[in-house]
Amino acid sequence: MTEKTVLNATHRALGARMVDFGGWDMPINYGSQIEEHHAVRQDAGMFDVSHMTVVDLHGERTREFLRHLLANNVDKLKAQGKALYSCMLDEQGGVIDDLIVYFFDDRHFRLVVNAATRAKDLAWIEQQAKAFGVEVKERPDFSMIAVQGPNARDKVIGLLHEVDRERIRKLGKFVAAAAQGPHGMPLFIARTGYTGEDGFEIIVPEEHAVALWEALLAAGVKPAGLGARDTLRLEAGMNLYGQDMDETVSPWEANLGWTISLDEGRDFIGRKVLEAQKAAGVKRVMVGLVLDEKGVLRHGQKVLTANGEGEILSGSFAPTLNKAVAFARIPAGEPGEVRVDIRGREVPVRVVKYPFVRDGKPCEGI
């Protein structure tokens, strides 16, 4: 049985092409996904991300629990509303999921995890939470709309109650706060995103989601589907769980080392294995690829390097660059002249540092 967000009928009325995404019936585009991509890079677009799972954690020992559960250190979260990106690892150091954790107070944190991994995430979190007496409460009563692009914040702020506008305008990156939306609806507004543009991700009670979407539409925010979301996050150099990493991959091999906090004395799940891997030297690395000639890099294509074969993880045509880019996992060491096997044809590609695009512009060297 496919699940539907509360915005399902709204998407269909807008002419969306719907696809199954991790068991959810979601819009892939409303016409041209390339136009939706450009709308986000140049103006403001919105995505229904209500399929993502919101989990509230309550209890005296919640912070202590998260120190144990997450590979990044929640002690970086000191101010109310601050958010942190982290991996949740298993005992072997494999990635169960990536998530964002928000800090309310020491007895209340909020996690936002992926939709496709919902069941295994909840099972794992509940299992680990028992020893800490932490209550794990899923919040299916929330919807979520991501509003992204250089004009996204202005358009959202224009819809807020006057008393909230200045405060939300000053919200720092990776910080969230409560505010009143249209008709006084209660919003949880986070300055986060998955596109490489500025903007907000807004958690809204399900019964107000359609009204918020309509208000954003009237304010000139363009609906964008999962197709544009995927090309935007790839250009922005952001990993997609299941494609770029999973339980069989260590964070070291997925360019997620920056999220691993090996601070002294903190015993988080997977730490011992990660330390051993680091000491032994990581065998594979994740790199960015750019294809300068015509063609499209895609998931699963073989990558040929001086040190052996690798493979493309996320790969796509990148609308901002008008050429194909990809993430690939290849053997560590100087890769030499790198080629990709595109349906039997060996095509030369450039190995680059990513992100490929930031704040609407191609990065240097792309």
């Binding site: 092409r17 041209s32 996904q33 390339i34 090309t231 015509k294 499209v296 796509s316 045509f317 609308p319």
Partner: protein, 131 residues
């Protein structure tokens, strides 16, 4: 969805064929197919003069989402390809049955045309796919 032109014949795999007055056959993909593929970003066309066999892949249409092999609905020789698609592949999305054509075949056996679906049969196939 736009009307399916009545003068076209179709392969089940969504290629259309139009028999022209000079006896050649122009080939493209259906409006339904372009909608399924989404934004087309790259087209690989056959060489002029190439000999092609009915039902074989002779071109590739790549969208942001996927690469799709294009089969020729008739055997024969490629006599024309749509060079304009190199610069504006999105024409396939905008006008699948017109300016978005892919190639023209000089057929070696015109009887093959009779094997294809007519517009009504193709429309029926699409309807069944929807259910």
């Amino acid at each position: 969805m736009s009307e399916i032109p009545g003068d076209l014949k179709f392969l089940k795999s969504h290629e259309w064929a139009r028999a022209e007055d000079n006896g050649n056959v122009r080939v493209g993909i259906s409006d339904h197919a372009q909608g399924q593929l989404g934004d087309v970003v790259y087209v690989e066309l056959p060489e002029i003069g190439a000999s092609v066999q009915v039902g074989h892949g002779v071109a590739t249409v790549e969208s942001v989402k996927a690469a799709s092999d294009i089969y020729t609905p008739v055997s024969g020789e490629i006599v024309e390809v749509n060079e304009a698609l190199a610069d504006s592949p999105e024409t396939i999305n905008e006008d699948a049955y017109g300016e978005g054509w892919l190639f023209v075949v000089k057929p070696s056996d015109r009887a093959e045309l009779a094997e294809l679906l007519d517009a009504d049969a193709y429309a029926e196939q699409l309807e069944n796919e929807d259910h």
